[in-house]
C-alpha cells in the first residue's frame, strides 16, 4: 500500500474514479490535509469536485487508489460509520421533520440520551443564531435560514471533518458573502477540518487556507490563495483565478529564474520561467492587469516597456479599466487605481506600458 504522510488527517492517494469504465472523471488525485485546515476544491462544472467529495463521504467508491482518514483507509467503511458531517447544495433538510427534529436525528441514531440531545440541539441552533426556529418546518424558512440549519445539522454531532458541496450556490450575493464569513468563523473556532467545494473563485480565495484548483479530473494547483493568484503554476490556473492577460510566444533564452520570450509579433520580453519546456518551446505569458503601469512617472526601476494603443477607457469609480492593443492582440486589459494625479487616457492614444519581469509568468502553452 501507499506510504501515509505523517500528520495528515485526510489523504487521497493516487485515487482514480470512472463511472462508465471508459472515461476517468478523477485522474490520479493526490492530496493531504492536516487537521483543522479549511481546504477548498475549486474548478469548473464537471471537473470532478463533487465526485471527490462523494468518495470521501463514502457514496462513491474509488475505482483505484486509497482514501485515508486519520491514517486509516476508509474504502470499506460504509458512509454512516465514517462520522463525516455534510452540507448539501440543496440543504437536504428532511421536510417532514421540524428543524429541531432534523438536528436531533444524528444524535438519536447515535443513541444519545434525550436531555443531552436537547442541550446539543439548542447549542447548535444558538451557534447559527436560529435558536427561535426549532419548531418550524424547513419549508417555513427562507433560503438563508435553511442554509444555517443545514450547517447546524452537519455540526451538531461534532464531526471532525465536514464536507460542503456548493452550500451557498442558491443564495443571493449579499447573503452569500455574509454566510462565507460565518462558515469560516465557525470552522476555525470549532477547529474542524473542512473540505469545501465551489466553482466561485472569490468564495474560494476569501474562505480557504488552501485551494485545490480542479480541472479535467486533476488538481492543477494546490496552494494558499495568495500564491494561487500571484504565482499560478499553469495557464489554466492563471486564467481561472482572477483576471489575466496572456501573450503567446516562443522561449528564446533561459537564464536561471528568468527567460526571454519572443512574442508572436517579434517583440522580445523578459519573463519569469515558471512552467516552460526550455528554449524553442511555445509559451503563454501571463500578466495581471493591475501590475501594468502606463504612467511613466510611476513606473518602477527595471520595468519592461512595450508600445500599446488605447482601444477603450472605462471609468469604474475606484479604478480605470483600459483595453489596449498590445503585440497584435486586442484584449489586453489594465487596471489602474483612481489616484488624484492619475492620467486619464483617450481612445486611439498611443502610449507605452511597462511591467516588472517578475510579474510576468511564462507558463505552458
Amino acid at each position: 500500500m501507499s506510504d501515509t504522510t505523517e500528520g495528515a488527517f485526510v489523504e487521497f492517494s493516487r485515487v482514480q474514479k470512472s463511472y462508465d469504465g471508459e472515461t476517468l472523471v478523477v485522474k490520479d488525485l493526490n492530496l493531504t490535509m492536516p487537521k483543522g485546515e479549511f481546504l477548498t476544491m475549486l474548478g469548473p462544472s464537471g471537473s470532478g469536485k463533487t465526485t471527490c467529495l462523494m468518495m470521501l463521504a463514502g457514496f462513491e467508491t474509488a475505482t483505484h487508489g486509497e482514501i485515508l482518514l486519520d491514517g486509516k483507509p476508509i474504502n470499506n467503511i460504509p458512509p454512516h460509520k465514517r462520522g463525516i458531517g455534510m452540507v448539501f447544495q440543496n440543504y437536504a433538510l428532511f421536510p417532514h421533520m421540524t428543524v429541531a427534529e432534523n438536528l436531533s436525528f444524528p444524535l438519536e441514531v447515535r443513541k444519545i440520551g434525550k436531555s443531552d440531545r436537547e442541550a446539543k440541539v439548542k447549542r447548535a441552533l444558538d451557534m447559527v443564531q436560529m435558536g427561535a426556529f426549532g419548531g418550524r418546518r424547513p419549508a417555513q424558512l427562507s433560503g438563508g435560514q435553511q442554509q444555517r440549519i443545514a450547517l447546524a445539522r452537519a455540526l451538531v454531532f461534532e464531526p471532525e471533518l465536514v464536507l460542503m458541496d456548493e452550500p451557498l450556490g442558491a443564495l443571493d450575493k449579499q447573503l452569500r458573502e455574509h454566510m462565507q464569513f460565518e462558515i469560516t468563523n465557525l470552522a476555525h473556532s470549532l477547529g474542524i477540518t473542512t473540505v469545501y467545494v465551489t466553482h466561485d473563485q472569490t468564495e474560494a480565495l476569501t474562505m480557504s487556507d488552501r485551494v485545490a484548483v480542479f480541472d479535467d479530473g486533476r488538481i492543477q494547483q494546490l496552494a494558499p490563495p495568495d500564491q494561487l493568484y500571484e504565482a499560478p503554476q499553469n495557464s489554466f490556473v492563471a486564467q481561472f483565478i482572477g483576471e489575466n492577460n496572456t501573450l503567446t510566444g516562443t522561449v528564446t533564452e533561459v537564464n536561471g529564474e528568468f527567460c526571454k520570450v519572443k512574442l508572436d509579433d517579434g517583440e522580445v520580453i523578459d519573463a519569469k520561467a515558471v512552467n516552460i519546456d526550455g528554449v524553442g518551446s511555445k509559451t503563454q505569458v501571463s500578466i495581471r492587469p493591475e501590475r501594468v503601469e502606463y504612467n511613466s512617472e510611476r513606473m518602477a526601476e527595471g520595468v519592461h516597456t512595450i508600445k500599446a494603443e488605447v482601444l477603450e477607457f472605462i471609468y469604474m469609480g475606484d479604478i480605470f479599466r483600459t483595453r489596449l492593443r498590445v503585440a497584435g492582440k486586442d484584449d489586453f486589459v489594465i487596471k489602474t487605481r483612481n489616484a488624484p494625479d492619475q492620467v486619464r487616457l483617450k481612445r486611439g492614444q498611443q502610449i507605452e506600458i511597462g511591467w516588472l519581469p517578475s510579474d510576468c509568468h511564462a507558463l505552458d502553452a
Binding site: 463521504a57 460504509p78 460509520k81 437536504a92 417532514h96 424558512l141 427562507s142
Partner: protein
Amino acid sequence: MTDRTTGPDQMTGATPDNGMRNANRANGKPGPMLSADGTPLKRSLRRAQRRQKIRALMLIAPLLIFVLLTFIAPIADMLFRSVQNQIVSDTLPRTVASLERWDGQSGEVPDEQTFRALYLDMFIAAERKEHTRLGSRLNYELTGVSSLFRRTGRDVDDFGEVYEDAFNDLDPKWEDPTTWARILGSADWVGEAEGAEAPGPDFELRDDVASYLPLTAELYGIFAEFIQTEDGDSPMEEEPWTLVYTALYWDLQRQGFAYSGPEADLVRAAAQAASGFENVSLKALFIDSDKDWGDPEVWATIKTYAPEYTPGYFLNAVDRQLTPDGVEKRPANEQIYGILFQRTIFMSLTITISCILLGYPVAYILANLPMRTANLLMILVLLPFWTSLLVRTSAWKVMLQQQGVINDTLVWLGLVDDASRLVMINNQFGTIVAMTHILLPFMILPLYSVMATIPPSYVRASKSLGATNWTTFWRVYFPQSVPGIGAGSILVFILSIGYYITPEIVGGTTGTFISNRIAYHISSSLNWGLAAALGSILLAVVLILYYLYDRIVGIDNVKLGG
C-alpha cells in the same frame, strides 16, 4: 414535499424580511388604489379576472356539456330511481285513493267499494298492459303478487259481461256503438265523426253528460282515447269495453239519478230496468279469479307502497323491509346485502394492501434505477394495460382452476395430491389474486412518480448523519413516499370497490362484489330501484371513506406526481 429551493423572496410566512415589508406597506397612505384610468384598482382587477374566467369556462364548456348530458344527468336520474315509486299510484289511482279509508291492521279485506275501484284500475291497466309491470314491482315486496296480477289481468275482461248482456238483452240498440257515441259525445264531434274514416276526430265529451253519468263519462272518455290512439279505431264503430257497461249500470243505480239528452228514452228505460239486473259482487269475482285477493296482506302491501316516494329500495338494500307495522328485518335467508357490502369492503382492503406490499418495492426499484432501465421496466408494468381486461382475467382462470397450470405443476412436483387439488378460483382467493394483478399498475404509478421526486440527497444526508440503511429508509425515505401510498390506495380501493368484470368471471358465489349484484338487478331482475339504492349506498360508502381518509391522512398528503 419536493425539495424546492426557497429563495428569500418566495416566503410568505412571518420571516423577518416580510415583517419589514408589511411594516413598509402599513406606512402607505390609506384609501382605495386607482388604476391608470381612474377606476378603482380592485374593480378593474375583478373585471380582468372575470374575462379570464369566462374564457377558461368556454374552453371547458364542450367537455362540461358532454359530461353533464351523458354522465351526470343519467346518474342523477338513476339515483332518483332509488326512491321513486309512482308506478303504484299511477297504475291503481282509484284503488290507492279508496284504500286510504281502509285500516291495514284490521286483518280484514277491504270493502266492495275498494274492489270496484280495483276493477276499474285493473281493467284499464290490463288494456294498457301495465298490470304486469306493477305486478313485478310489488313482487319485490311480496312474492306471488306478480302471478296474481297476471291471472286477474286475464280474467278482468269478463267481470262486466253480466251487465253487457243485460243491457243488450234489454234493448239491441245498446249493441250499436253509435248509440254510446251519441249519448256521450258532443254534438259537434258526433257530426264530424259520422262517416269519417277511422280513427276520426279526437273524441269530445258532451258538456253536461258528466253530471248525469259521471263514471260512464269518465270511462268512456278513457275508452275512446285508448282505441283512437292505440288501435286507430273510431268510437263510432267499436262497442265499448264491458267496463263501460258496468259503469253505466252503477251510474243508473245511483241515488237521485236523472238524465236529459240524446237517447233519453233509451237511458231512462235502462234506468228503470237496471234495478232488476243481477247485482254481482266484484269482491267475489276477484277472489274467485285468485283467492289471494282475499288475503289482507296483499292489500297491505299495495297500501304500504302507494306513496310516490318510498324508502323501500334502500331498506331492501340494507336487508330491511317496510311492512304495515313499520321497518323490519328481512327473514334471515333473504339477508344478503349486508354480507355483500362487508365482503366488498373487506376484499377491497385486502386487494389494496396486497397492491401496496407488491407495488412498493417495484416502485422503489424503478425510481432508483437509471432513467433508461427504469423506462424499460416501466413498460413491463404498463403491459397489462395494453391487454384486454377480459383476456387477463381469463388467463387467471386458466392458471388457477383445478385442472389449471398451477395445480398441474404442484401435482407434478408432488407437493399436492392429485385427489386434493387446491381450489383457487370461483372463490375469494381467486378474486383477490386476479384483481391485485389487474390493479397493481394503479398502485405502482403514483408510488413511482412520488418516489422519483424524492431527491437522493435526502438518503445521502441521512447516512452522512450516521443512520443505517434501515433507519434511513424508515425515518427519511418512507415518510416522504407516504403521499404516493395514499394516492395509490385511494385509486386501487375505489376502483376495486366498484369492480365488476373480474369478480364476475373468477369470483364464483363467494367472491363476488356488490357491483355484481347491482349489475344483476340492472340487467336480469330489472329491479332498477334496488340497483339504484345499492349504487347510492356504494357511492355514499366511498364518499364517507374518502372523508375519513381526509381526516386521518389528509388529502393534501396525496400526490399523483411531481
